[in-house]
Every structure is written in structure tokens, then in C-alpha cells.
Symmetry: C2
Subunit: 512 residues, 2 copies
């Protein structure tokens, strides 16, 4: 489908009326930071880590598994090859990374919702990957496609979310080899925010590209980035053929990838912060360099998914100070590479959306903002170490994301902000509520929660003494009741329907 067809809104009068009547829910612009980054590493520490990462690449190297073409690409680029082991001479990976753009625009089908990834920006996307869902009514259960659709709707309606994400939960009731089609269809039709593609097989990455060509037009996809997808490194130092195959498809098509170590500290990386940062840098240098071997200039994000571990139980732990050290430090290393940076999220280990979940999440969200993260996957809805997508926590976290927007604005210092007339007017012992400056500014002065309780104690008690989870249950119900789909050209919808039907009929179901 050509761009002109999309822009031309090919449908008839009924379709145009449907578009005109569609409700558009407010979405904030991605965060443009007007505050400094928090930098925890000294210049000397960064140099030590950078030097060590180069030593690791040269002496230890990385494995590219079951991927002879990748091995050949590395050989041609000047790496030393030993079977599947790739040893990269000092400086080579960093040099190859230099062709990756420092920022890129990911287009949404609603251009008002395009995001610019990199620079001072922070783009927020929801939880990714859990096989389970939880809500107060239904408890914890395997996720279905119906759950997936609900999360996409909630993401579409969440003011502070800029991005729909991808696998907001794993719809286990759809065959493994076909669920990417249903997920992409939902992301494309139930929301008009930007989204992620499939990475579970190279062919599914290709399906993602092909569906985008229907949605955006072939020419548009050739010239623009319309997906940002998640490529995990199999830490330590291993790049498997499935993930690399998906990366190859996306890079060839100029689509963006997050290239991200997945590290539980002490298990997949050294137990120390500096050691972990060394490995994170070595792994991302190798992965990003490889993306540039596929297509110089392909957009990529340097990722760092790093948690600590409870050494008693072996369980991953979240919102911890060690994760903060790594997140701050990796941000500094990404900026020295002049690359967009992905880290942090609504991480928690708790089984419930309770105080533990909120402490851990708030610790991580705050560090994410201050660490200079450019793309925050998992920014809402994550529960139980990533095993569960929680409906209540999705809206609870999504509300907290508003605090990041306001914090990032920084401090205004113009004459109105100085408020000297107000101080003179009110004077000692006075009250500011009624003064002109307050009246003129109160509507925009303070971040306002759409969820949290500020009522007088007696009112709150009369209304049932609800905790945050109970308030969130009501908010989820209300949002889903109010949901209306964004307008979509019926011709595009039909073409997507046809693509999905054809692909589904082409091979038998598999749940493996």
C-alpha cells in the first residue's frame, strides 16, 4: 500500500465520519529534559572501564552462535575468529559504532505521536514480556490475547506513556508461531502510538516489517524508522542466532533496535558494579558494532537491563542501590559513545502492587530519569520480577510517570516564577491562596495525580477506606469502559486483516 493511499484516507463517507467522531485521548509529548544528568563515575573510572571493555573484547571476545554469516562479517571487518568466538581488536568495535545515529525519530501512524529517541529526551513504554497477568478480581493467571488487547488500550489512554511497547504480556492462548501477528495487529489498530516489532524469529521480524508497510506505506517504511525492537544479548558475551537474525532483519530495513545485555548481577556478570559495567560496555559495543556491519547508520539504542540478586535465594532483586549505580554509570558510558540509552523501568520483585512494589519502582523510575535514559521500556505495569503484567500496577505506575515529566522541566526563573510581587503583596503572616500570582499560576504549577488519594480522612473512610490497589482497580475499569479506538482507514485495516489471515493459514499452529 502506497503512502498516498494512507494519507488519502481511502475509505468512503462512513469511514470519514467515523474518523471525525473518534475520541482522541491526550498524550504528553516525550520528556525533553531541562535538568542535568546525575553522574556517579569519575572521568578516571570511565577510562578504566572503557579500557577494560576493550581488553575484554580483544582477549576474551564474544560468541556469535549458529551464525556463519555473522562470523564472516566479523572476519571481513578485521576480527580474529576462532570457531564461534569473535575477538575484536582494541578500538574496532568503538569505531564501527560511530556510524550509528545519536538520535532518531520513530514514527507513529499518528504523526503527533512520533517520538525522538536520544539527546535529552526520554520516551516511556510499558512492561514487556510477562507470561502472567494479575488483577484484584481475577488474581494471577496466564496471559491471553484478551489481556494483551486491554493493556494496549490502557497504554493508548495513558497520558504519560509515549509508546505502546511490544509484548505487554505474552498471549499464551495464541500459538507461538502466530501470536506476533495478533500482537502487531492489536498495536496497529487499538492505538496510534509508536510500537515494537517481533524478535522471536527472523521471519517474525520480517512479518513485522511487512505489516508496517501496510500500515505506513512501503515507501514510508523504506525511508523512516517505524519500529524500535528489543534485542537481548545472552549475557555473558553471547549473541544467539535468533536474536541476531531479528537484528539483521531490522537493521537491513533501517528499523531501530535496542541492543541490551540481560544481566542478573552476580550470575550473568561479576558481582561488582565496575565489573558489570565493563561487561555491559563490551557486550553493547560488540552488538552495536554488529548492527553497523549489517547497515551503517541503522538506528540502535545502547541498552542495560541489570538487576542485583538476593544471594540467599538467588532471586533477582529490583530498585536496589547497586542497580542504580549501574544505571547511572551505563548512562555516562552511552553518552560518551553518543548513542541513545535504554535502562530502568517499573521494576519490582513484589508479588502484589503493594508498598514493596512501589518503593522498588519509584527507586528505579527516579534513577532512570536522572541517569539520562532515553528509552524506558517497562516504565509501567511490571510485577513479580517481570513474570506478571499487573493491570492495577500499570495505571499506578503510569500515573507516577507524570512526576518524571514535571521533574524534568527544571526550575523556571523568569519574572513570573520569581513571584516578587506576590511576596510583597502577601507579606509576613499573610496567605498566598488568594493572591493574584497564585490565581494566575495554580493550574499549571503542580503535577496532579489522576489516581492517588488526597481526601480528608473522614471522607476517605466513608468511601470505603480504599488503598491504592483498590483505587487502581476502579481506574482500570473506568478506562476500559471509556476506551474508543483511534480512527483507521478501513482499507488499511482490511489489508492488515488479509495479511494476518494469509500468514496464519500458511503454517500449522505451534505452541513450542
Amino acid at each position: 500500500m502506497a503512502e498516498s493511499a494512507r494519507r488519502g484516507r481511502g475509505g468512503g463517507g462512513a469511514a470519514r465520519r467515523a474518523e471525525r467522531n473518534a475520541v482522541s485521548f491526550e498524550t504528553a509529548k516525550f520528556i525533553e529534559r531541562n535538568i542535568p544528568n546525575f553522574e556517579i563515575l569519575t572521568e578516571e573510572a570511565m577510562q578504566v572501564i572503557e579500557t577494560n571493555a576493550e581488553i575484554v573484547l580483544e582477549e576474551v571476545g564474544v560468541n556469535f552462535l549458529d551464525n556463519p554469516a555473522a562470523i564472516q562479517r566479523w572476519r571481513d571487518a578485521g576480527a580474529e575468529i576462532d570457531g564461534e568466538r569473535v575477538r575484536i581488536p582494541r578500538g574496532l568495535a568503538r569505531k564501527l559504532c560511530a556510524t550509528a545515529p545519536s538520535q532518531y525519530t520513530q514514527h507513529a501512524r499518528n504523526p503527533a505521536r512520533n517520538v525522538v529517541v536520544g539527546g535529552n529526551n526520554l520516551v516511556l513504554a510499558p512492561v514487556y514480556g510477562p507470561p502472567f497477568v494479575r488483577d484484584a478480581v481475577g488474581g494471577r493467571r496466564y496471559a491471553t490475547m484478551e489481556d494483551f488487547n486491554k493493556f494496549v488500550k490502557l497504554g493508548y489512554m495513558s497520558k504519560w506513556l509515549h509508546h505502546s511497547g511490544g509484548t505487554v504480556c505474552e498471549p499464551t492462548d495464541v500459538p507461538v508461531n502466530k501470536r506476533h501477528l495478533d500482537m502487531l495487529y492489536a498495536l496497529m489498530t487499538l492505538s496510534d502510538k509508536p510500537f515494537m516489532g517481533s524478535v522471536t524469529e527472523p521471519s517474525r521480524a520480517q512479518d513485522s516489517v511487512d505489516m508496517c508497510k501496510i500500515l505506513f506505506g512501503e515507501e514510508f517504511v523504506r525511508d523512516n524508522t517505524v519500529m524500535t525492537s528489543l534485542i537481548n544479548i545472552n549475557s555473558p558475551m553471547t549473541f544467539d542466532d535468533v536474536m541476531m537474525g531479528a537484528l539483521e532483519v531490522y537493521a537491513q530495513n533501517n528499523q531501530a533496535c535496542i541492543i541490551s545485555p540481560f544481566i542478573v548481577g552476580g550470575a550473568m556478570a561479576p558481582v561488582s558494579v565496575a565489573g558489570t559495567l565493563t561487561q555491559v560496555l563490551a557486550e553493547t559495543l560488540a552488538g552495536i558494532a554488529y548492527s553497523q556491519l549489517i547497515r551503517p547508520g541503522a538506528p540502535v539504542i545502547m541498552g542495560a537491563f541489570v538487576t542485583s540478586i538476593d544471594m540467599n535465594s538467588g532471586a533477582p532483586t529490583f530498585g536496589t542501590p547497586e542497580a542504580a549505580h549501574i544505571t547511572y554509570g551505563a548512562g555516562q558510558l552511552a553518552r560518551r559513545l553518543n548513542l541513545p540509552y535504554r535502562s530502568a523501568g517499573s521494576f519490582c520483585g513484589s508479588k502484589l502492587p503493594d508498598a514493596q512494589a512501589a518503593y522498588e519502582t519509584a527507586n528505579s523510575l527516579n534513577m532512570g530519569l536522572l541517569a539520562g535514559v532515553n528509552f524506558m521500556l517497562h516504565s509501567c505495569g511490571w510485577l513479580e520480577g517481570g513474570l506478571v503484567s499487573s493491570f492495577e500496577k500499570f495505571v499506578m505506575d503510569a500515573d507516577q510517570l507524570g512526576t518524571l515529566h514535571h521533574l524534568a522541566r527544571g526550575v523556571e526563573i523568569d519574572e513570573n516564577a520569581q513571584a516578587m510581587d506576590a511576596i510583597r503583596e502577601v507579606g509576613p503572616g499573610g496567605h498566598y491562596l488568594g493572591c493574584a500570582h497564585t490565581q494566575n499560576n495554580f493550574k499549571t504549577a503542580f503535577w496532579k495525580s489522576d489516581l492517588l488519594d488526597y481526601k480528608p480522612f473522614e471522607t476517605w473512610e466513608d468511601e470505603g477506606a480504599r488503598d491504592t490497589q483498590a483505587l487502581a482497580t476502579l481506574r482500570v475499569e473506568k478506562m476500559l469502559a471509556d476506551y474508543q479506538a483511534p480512527a483507521l482507514d478501513p482499507a488499511i485495516r482490511e489489508a492488515l486483516d488479509a495479511f494476518v489471515a494469509q500468514k496464519k493459514s500458511a503454517e500449522p499452529d505451534s505452541f513450542m
Copy 2:
């Protein structure tokens, strides 16, 4: 009681045996930051705010109510007096503040628990002031002396709390004019951590000093700071005679005071961050200058208790981005004055120790650490906008304070931290859990919660699917069951008993 009597442990053999058998609970050293401060104001913004604060002091001035001696002191210092209004010429307040020390040691009766307030340090003290308490068993109710004692015990046993605080809750079952005696007695006997004095009447401040002379010895108190007490400014720009009377007693005795605006933004200060910071600076300059008029060199802390407001309900709101802006900014202003800084805490508006409480608290604790706060009152146990001291939230927050300790350590970069041998040993595709570096370092590598749940889902479910509050209820019960009082010279205890009894009998009860 002379210092020699205290040091000589005047009691007999039984007392000495009791001391030897006393259990000492571990307390972490106050935080010594090895990380930078987060600075949100530009140099230009700071200069604007500093200039404006001087203009406010000179043109608008401050009120010292019902305090002719204070007015006379200001007149003698060169201020322009108009009734109770004190207008302070530009530069005078800042000049007077220069005699205040940049840091001071507050002594505890156990010298191992002395704290140094100022510099890169952060001292953590619990919630202060609530008239209500709450726990899961008894619900919300007026606080009693029994509750007070329990909170002092919990504070004594909390590893990450360095300071007992003061009015951990307001014991409403003791007459207003006598409860300070019971509170001080509890702080002196149930814990050996440093504590705060009474500020509700100048005479009660004097009682606090007199009881310290019994506990520490008269000579010791003359030469050392043994209390840090909370002097609130009646914002905007008003200094009442009760608080100033208490400040005068403490400053005359070389005891430390936090001099702190108490501001709900938009009500007691302008609705803008820059305007509020201007007022905070003007008020603290005036208050600290006044402390130095009483006694040059008296130790003081520049305080900023600032919250935002829900403009719909008028309720104060906590853990908000505007409070963070002010907390970061006021920290920069305090450092330019070379003064210790008090702000942040376990602030929340929630009625329950739920997710809202934890989001708001974590936002505030994180900003407190990064803002360079030196003394954090309310660092645990605060609930419902400060109306309630929560037993569960006390231990929940106190556990989270451990994350601040670890975060503040910064990133080690020595050879062991670099872990290059571990990376070489494990290699691509390996596992770090068993390697020598992990075995040598895992015990100290990660912060470890004493409360949060990291168990496998099935175990957690079998054990009753407890949320954080339920786990905290158990921890409170366990701590109070395990409590043992620190040793105290029986002669000192008798002298304190006698002082309290004499004072209580000297005047009738008052509940006003």
C-alpha cells in the same frame, strides 16, 4: 551530676553486670556520601534567588511577634524596626550567618553513636509530631506514651537510623505541660542514640537542657552539643515568641537547632518554585542570623520543610516533583551559605502504608540523598500528611533507608572491583555464581533488605500471600519482643527519675 560520676559508672556490681549483659543492636554509621549532589539550579538562578531574598528581607522584612528582646537585638544589630516588623539591610543577615559552624558533632550517651551533622554527611532521624498512630491491629487512634515508648524502641533497634528524633508521636494521654519530661526520659533511657529537645515552651527547652546535664554531666553539656531541636518558622516570614524562646534557650546553651520554614506551597509561599526558594532563603537567613545574635557560633541547620498542595482539595501533597525541585534548590543555597541542611523525609499523603505511601516516600528519600541533605527528620514512619505515625511504615521505611547508605557509597574502581580476572575466568556463556570473585565478594556486594519478599511465588502463596504491611506487622512484633534496653548507670536513672518527679509535682496538669 558531674562528668566524672557518669564516666565512673557509679553503680555497684549488679549494675556493672547488667551493663555487661546488655545486648547492643547494630547501628550503621551516619552516611558519608561518596557521590555528587544533584544540582538543578544554574549559577544565574541561584544569584537571582539570593538577590531577591535580600530584597525581601530589606523591603518586606520579617515579624518577630511578642518578643521585645528580639526586637532590641535586631535594632542593635542594625535592622530597621517598625513595631514587630524587622527589615534587615542587604547583606546583614548573610554576614551574621557566617559565624554559624559548617558542621558540628551531636554527642550521644553512647559515643559510638555520635553523629557529625554537615559536610557530606547524612544523619537519619524518624518521624516527628503526629498526634495519631496506626497499626494493622489497632487501626488509627490518638497516640499515647506507650506508643511513644514503642517507637523509641523501634528506632533504637533500627540499623539504618542514626538518631532517635524527638516527638516520634505526640503522647496525648500525658498533660501537655508535662509530656516533654516523659518523652525526654524515654529518649534518654530506652535508647542510646542522639535525640532532640522540647520546643513547645522556653521552659521546656530549659528542662531538656537540665535533663541532659544529668545524663551527660554539666561540664560536658557546657562544652558539647547533645541535642538538635526543631524550630519552625511560621511562614510566611513570621517568628513567634514560643519557638524563638526555645531557640534562645538552646543557642545560649550551645545546643543545635534546625531553623526551618514550614511551607505548604501556594498557601504559605508563592505557587512557584523560584518564589518559594526565595522565601525559604529569606526566612532561614533571618532565623539563623537571629540564632547568631543570641550566641555567635551556636550550631544551626538550615531547614526546608516544603510540600506542594492539591489545588482542588487544599490538601498538602508529598513526593511531588515540585517538592523535589525545591529540595534540590534549597540544598544548593545551603551549601553556598556553608551550613548544614535539613529536608526530605518519608513524606506521603496516603492513609495507609500502601503503594501510594511508598511511591511518595521513595520519591522523597531519593531526592533527599541526592539533594545533599545533612539531617533528615521524618526519615521513617510518616503517614497521612504527618497526622499519623505508622508502626508498619516505620519499619518499612527504616528498611529502605539501607538503600540510601549503599547508594551513597558510590562506585569502587580498585582492582577487585574491576573484576577482570572473573570476566576472563567465566568467559562467554559461563556463569558467575561459582567463580572465585563472586565467592569472595557476594556478602558485601549487595544491599540486603530485612523485610521485603523475594521468595518464589509458590512459597510466598503457601505462607499466606502477605503484602508488605503484613510482613511489617510481624517485624514490629518481633523487634519489640526482642528489645533490650541499653545499659544506663543506675545513679543517672535515679537522678532523672527525681528530676521528672519534682517537675511534675511543681505545677498542675494542663491539657491545653
